[in-house]
Symmetry: C2
Subunit: 188 residues, 2 copies
């Protein structure tokens, strides 16, 4: 079974180290991890389109996605990863994901922007007057419920990990979920 590994891990200075640790975890559970090409970032004409096509081909080949949905440069997950989660959901693939940051989307927005209750509209708004989702979900509802509906609910840590960019306990939890599901489907 092939698992597409989506996440902003590819932007880390030690992306290759983290990627190899992920590969090892997949192998330990008898699964093949497919890794996006973004970690081979180079400049030049056509490079980005080449990466897009290679990642899309890998997603088409994969049976499932494990998305690292830890907030990236803002209150939400990395948008490249979110696109890939949507693409895999649309293709009918099994969707699993984790975040290494605890808290609701409202709390994450409030930690970065001024957020106030709009009593009349009975909702929270940001400094631009735009509504802030308040569903006690970890991120935008489309992202969180895509996992609920097309795979397994978002995996979150019990305690905040000391290094949220590199902690792989949530990732390993996701790999185990997929391996157990595969074993149960094979046994059926």
């Amino acid at each position: 079974m092939k698992i597409y590994q989506a996440g902003p891990d590819v932007f880390l200075p030690d992306a290759a180290v983290v990627g190899n640790r992920k590969k090892d975890i997949c192998a330990r559970f008898g699964l093949a991890g497919l890794f996006p090409l973004d970690n081979e970032i180079a400049q030049g004409d056509g490079v980005s389109l080449h990466i897009f096509r290679a990642n899309t081909a890998m997603m088409d080949e994969a049976d499932a996605i494990i998305a690292n949905l830890t907030p990236f440069r803002g209150p939400s997950a990395d948008p490249g990863t979110v696109y890939e989660l949507g693409y895999m959901a649309g293709r009918g693939k099994y969707c699993v994901g984790y975040s290494n940051v605890i808290g609701t989307y409202l709390e994450k927005v409030a930690s970065r922007h001024s957020v106030r209750p709009d009593e009349l509209a009975r909702r929270y708004v940001d400094d631009q007057g735009q509504a802030v989702e308040d569903f006690s979900l970890a991120d935008n509802l489309m992202i969180v419920h895509a996992l609920d509906e097309f795979g397994h609910p978002l995996v979150l840590p019990q305690q905040p990990p000391s290094d949220p960019c590199r902690d792989l306990a949530g990732f390993e939890h996701c790999v185990r979920l997929i391996a157990e599901r595969q074993a149960s489907l094979s046994g059926a």
Copy 2:
């Protein structure tokens, strides 16, 4: 032809007004606009899942998506919209989008975070040491190239509009593109 209208417009205080203007533009070109339910945000158990399922059903019904990819609470597009773009791409639907903010992803990150060149790695990094994509694209490469590969390249304004949250020139451009494509396909 049915067009799913994705965008953070639903979070505006005057979301209904903007939504009606979008509906009118679609109707003028003989197209049906399907609008997500997020603008009927209410609290309570099950509301968010209800919205997710309704939006997913609307996307499944639609033939194309017009995604408002104007940056939202950060350097990138609204993540709910990005998820929907990915979902529609995965379902093989025609993907069109616009942004009302000019500039590259690197410039947008640099306007919000400290960004410096990492000479050794030959790339730009943010204040966390994480690489910043530098492909002269408007957003993450997966988002921008999804439009290139599965629809029409991102529509951008010639001049920055005075109200980027509400300006619909880019939206109208997208509607026209879809109407012209439909006319050309019907005539073929």
